[in-house]
C-alpha cells in the first residue's frame, strides 16, 4: 500500500500555498503530479489518495482530476496494473466526487477513518451487493458469493470479473478479494 497526499500534489502544482481543489487547470495539474507518482509504483499495488488536508473541492476540478485519473485505470485496457482508493474525503467531497463519477459511468472505493469502505459512483445494485460481500468475506470464490447474493454462479462470476476489471476488487486466482487485502 502506498500513501499519496493530494495536498502535497496540490502544493507541487501551484505557486501559492492554497488548500482548495478548484478550477480545471488545477485539477489537470494535480492529476499530472499524481499520475507521475502512480507510474512509479509496482504492478498490482494499491495507492491510497489522501484528501484529508483538502478544503473546497469543486466539480470542474473534480472532473479534471478524479474522473480523468480514473478513466484510463478502469477501462478494458488500463494504463497501468494498479488500484486507487480514496481516503480522508469529507461529506461534501464525497458528494462532488460521486457526481463526476456518475457523469462518466465510473466508480471507486472510498475508505473512511474508521476503516470502513464504500463503493461510490456508477454501480448497479447487484454489483454493490457483491462488492459488499467481498469486503465482508475477504478472499472468496464467485460460487460461494452467488448464493448469498441470490444470483447464479455464472452471473456472479461475470459481475465480479466486471468489478475486478474496473479495479474495484482484486482478482486473485479463482477468487476475488478486497483492495488492500493480502493477495
Amino acid at each position: 500500500m502506498t500513501h499519496i497526499s493530494v495536498h502535497s500534489a496540490l502544493q507541487a502544482s501551484l505557486d501559492a500555498p492554497y488548500s482548495d481543489l478548484v478550477t480545471r487547470r488545477t485539477g489537470a495539474a494535480v492529476r499530472t503530479v499524481i499520475e507521475h507518482q502512480l507510474s512509479g509504483l509496482a504492478d498490482g499495488s494499491v495507492a491510497f489518495l489522501d484528501f484529508s488536508r483538502i478544503g473546497v473541492l469543486d466539480r470542474s476540478c473534480a472532473d479534471e482530476f478524479v474522473a480523468k485519473l480514473m478513466l484510463p485505470l478502469s477501462n478494458d485496457h488500463p494504463s497501468r496494473d494498479g488500484y486507487v482508493v480514496f481516503h480522508g474525503v469529507n461529506e461534501l467531497h464525497l458528494e462532488i466526487i460521486e457526481s463526476v463519477l456518475l457523469a462518466h459511468g465510473l466508480a471507486l472505493v472510498v475508505q473512511f477513518p474508521d476503516g470502513a469502505a464504500r463503493l461510490v459512483g456508477a454501480v448497479t445494485d447487484v454489483e454493490r451487493r457483491l462488492w459488499e460481500l467481498v469486503m465482508r468475506q475477504g478472499w472468496c470464490p464467485a460460487e460461494r458469493l452467488a448464493a448469498e447474493a441470490g444470483i447464479t454462479p455464472d452471473e456472479a462470476q461475470g459481475q465480479l470479473e466486471g468489478l475486478a476489471r474496473r479495479r474495484l476488487i482484486r482478482r486473485d486466482a479463482d477468487a476475488f478479494a478486497p483492495l488492500g487485502a493480502a493477495a
Binding site: L14, D15, A16, Y18, S19, D20, V22, T23, R24, R25, T26, G55, V56, L57, D58, R59, S60, D63, E64, A67, K68, E91, L92, I96, S99, V100, A103, H104
Partner: protein, 297 residues
Amino acid sequence: MTDVITLPAALDEQSFESVIEQLAPLADDAKLLVDARHCRFATPYGLTALLCLAQTRLEKPDFAPPEDDQVSSYWARSNFFRYAEELYTMRGATPRPRASGDSDVLLEVTPVARSEDVHGIVSRIQEKATQILTTKLDLEPRATMGFAMTLSEACSNIIEHAQRGGWVMVQRYNWGKRRVGRDVVQIAVCDAGIGFRASLETSRARALADRWDDAIALESGVIQGVSRLQDPGRGQGLKGIRGYVHRFDGKLTVRSGRARIAPIIPEWDEDVPRQDSLPVFAGTQLQVIIPKRLARP
C-alpha cells in the same frame, strides 16, 4: 460629443437594465460619461456590471463618482475605484479605501482572469465569510464550503468560456424590511466576454436547435448543462450552482446578450423565468442571493 449615461439612485440587478437601455442606441465607439453623482446605493451586481460596461467601450469612458461621501467611501472600500480608475477617466476625486471594520463586504470587487485568481477568491471568502455565513445566515459549516464552491464554479466559467476577464463581489445585506424579511448574501459574477450564445455556437445543442438566440443558449447552458465541449463531465459547474442555490432557498439569475433567465425563483421573491429581446449587453452577468436559513418548525 459626449453621451451621458445616468445611473439610477439605487443600482442593482434590475435597475442596471436602465443603464443598458441608455447604452443601446449608442455606437460602440461613442464617447461616454457615466454619471454616478446621484447614485446612493449599489449592489455587487451594479458595481461589477459597471466595470464590464467600461470594458465593452472602444473609447475609454469618463466617470463621475457619487457626490455623497458615504456612498463614495463605500465604493472605495469595495475596491470599485481601484479598478474603475483603470477603465474610466475619473471626473472628480475618489476617496482612498480606509479600513472600517465593515464586515458586510465579504469579498471586495475582485478581478477574475486566471486560475490563480479563483484560488485567491475561494481562500479569502472562506477566511472572511465563514463566520458571517454561520452566525448571520445560520448556515452550517458544510454549507459555507458549498458557498465557496458556488463562487469558484461561477468564476471558473469566466476563465473557461468568456475569453475575457471579469469581476466578482460578495456582500451581506439586512433585508428585514423587504419581502424576504431576513439577512441575505449576494454574489455577483460579471464579465463582458463572448456570452453564452457565442460560447455554445459549436455545441451539439446549437446543431440540433431550430432556433438559436441568447435565451435558448442560456437555457441550454444553465438549465440543461450543455457545454461547448462534448466531454460528459462538462456542464457540471452550473449544475452544482443550481443545486446549491435550490438547496438553500436562494435565487439565481443569469443575463447574457439580449436575454435573462431566472432558473431558480424562491417563494420569497417574484420574477419572470425568462426575458427575451432585452437591449444587448456583452458577456454574462450572474447573480446569486442566499437568504438566512429559516429555523425548522
